[in-house]
Homo-oligomer: 209 residues x 3
Amino acid sequence: MTIFYALDLTGTIAFAMSGTLAALNKRLDPFGIFIIAFVTAIGGGTLRDVLIGRTPVGWMLDLHYVYVIIFATIFALIIRNYISYLSKTLFLFDTIGLGIFTIIGTEIGIQQGLHPVISIALGVTTATFGGVIRDILCNDIPVIFRKEIYASACLVGAIAFMISHHLSLSSNVAYIFTTSVVIAIRLIAVKYNISLPMIPPPIKKDKNS
Amino acid sequence: MTIFYALDLTGTIAFAMSGTLAALNKRLDPFGIFIIAFVTAIGGGTLRDVLIGRTPVGWMLDLHYVYVIIFATIFALIIRNYISYLSKTLFLFDTIGLGIFTIIGTEIGIQQGLHPVISIALGVTTATFGGVIRDILCNDIPVIFRKEIYASACLVGAIAFMISHHLSLSSNVAYIFTTSVVIAIRLIAVKYNISLPMIPPPIKKDKNS
Amino acid sequence: MTIFYALDLTGTIAFAMSGTLAALNKRLDPFGIFIIAFVTAIGGGTLRDVLIGRTPVGWMLDLHYVYVIIFATIFALIIRNYISYLSKTLFLFDTIGLGIFTIIGTEIGIQQGLHPVISIALGVTTATFGGVIRDILCNDIPVIFRKEIYASACLVGAIAFMISHHLSLSSNVAYIFTTSVVIAIRLIAVKYNISLPMIPPPIKKDKNS
């Protein structure tokens, strides 16, 4: 097992745990909780695979993903009352997952011979759409569209990875560089409470005045 | 036409009728009602086909599905005020559909050479995601995540079918066995008002105390 | 560049602008706005491509779509306070887009050898599901299911295109005819405030009376 694969499974675990917690707060039943945890963890990669025609999609060909998601869901349920003590650990795991998923998606785009711009879009899709599908199933507007430097961190990470690729850096260097970029952006954004500037909605003309 | 195909169409009709009734209660227009009926009936199988790369997806290659859904939608609209007298019949149809769709999905997974665990997941997906997509389009949290032994009945049914397959039972015996398992679990769950135990959400610590 | 391709990009621009305005009203951040604009513009065609297995999906192979969507989003953000003065222009663009997307989807269905009924369904899907996905991401019930002659105009347009095809009319004549049908239906429907008749929901029996 390579370090990269281990990190991939780490990200999967983190995303499954975040899905479990979101589902718990919606008062879903245990089966619903597991489905939400599952789609949060594999949704982004599944959408990527479907869009590029890489089927059967990834998790169908490697049961380890299914097993770690089952494990992560049960673990998150058991420790749910102590999760506030672990919030920093979870945040770190989640951010590592974000960096890794960004790399995986971008690299698959490159392998498939897609244009760099599309490969970057695939990286961002892989990293963020699990959370988007989780929020749709939970009947919320996807949180990544509304606040926090989250998708933006993936976007910068994917661009960093693409640059590393064009500079022909070794894979390991590119992986560490990209993940560090994503983690650094999120840490700084959270620490200094930075978010993208909001664009005010159109001014409504009062037709009766 | 085989009995299996007839049962498949029966399930399609039942799912289209349940979609029609859900859409009526959301006050959608006739076109919207038909779309909801359609995706409820074919959504699970469509998602399955997309995930495993079996495209064009099933209903595009056999117009009978389209015709029975049109028929079922119109029929449900006509009898909508008498539906309460038919609720037991509809429940039975829906449950037969559930059993049949579970079998179809699981069997396609086996045929594609996927792992038994993934084949079971495909069976459950085929049976339940039509309803999930219906609820997303109607802007509800999917009902199967919240109550009733529904997806769980499919899960047990898919496992029962997989066991039948490994025991090399004849197809017809396996079909009858699986569908009976799904129907029995749902009937018992509804009759005795059984649902999965709820897991309480994390205890919120009051930070001000 | 053919006229048809130019019209396709026109429709893409119009749909991206309508997505931008919808996202602005939901107070999304700039990244979220762009994603909504993007899926509104390419969502219908992407779903079509995924359903028939035409992968990688269209916009991944032609960067012009990405560029015009970026341009349209930024343009819509800049002019957002003057959009009410442009509403008739936008409506016309949107309707042209609707007609063009209907044609593209139906034609691809024919090219793939699918049944006319399925090809028509693909045309309607291509034209309308971008807006459906936009509304799902914005946590609304899809507007096309609720009011206005919108999807119905696509349906009639797709049938008109199919008839043109069977009469072996030249492509350009068929394109102009179909787009005119879609535009005419929408204009008349909006001018005379026509919508599909609503079907009243089932009468609830009061069980206590």
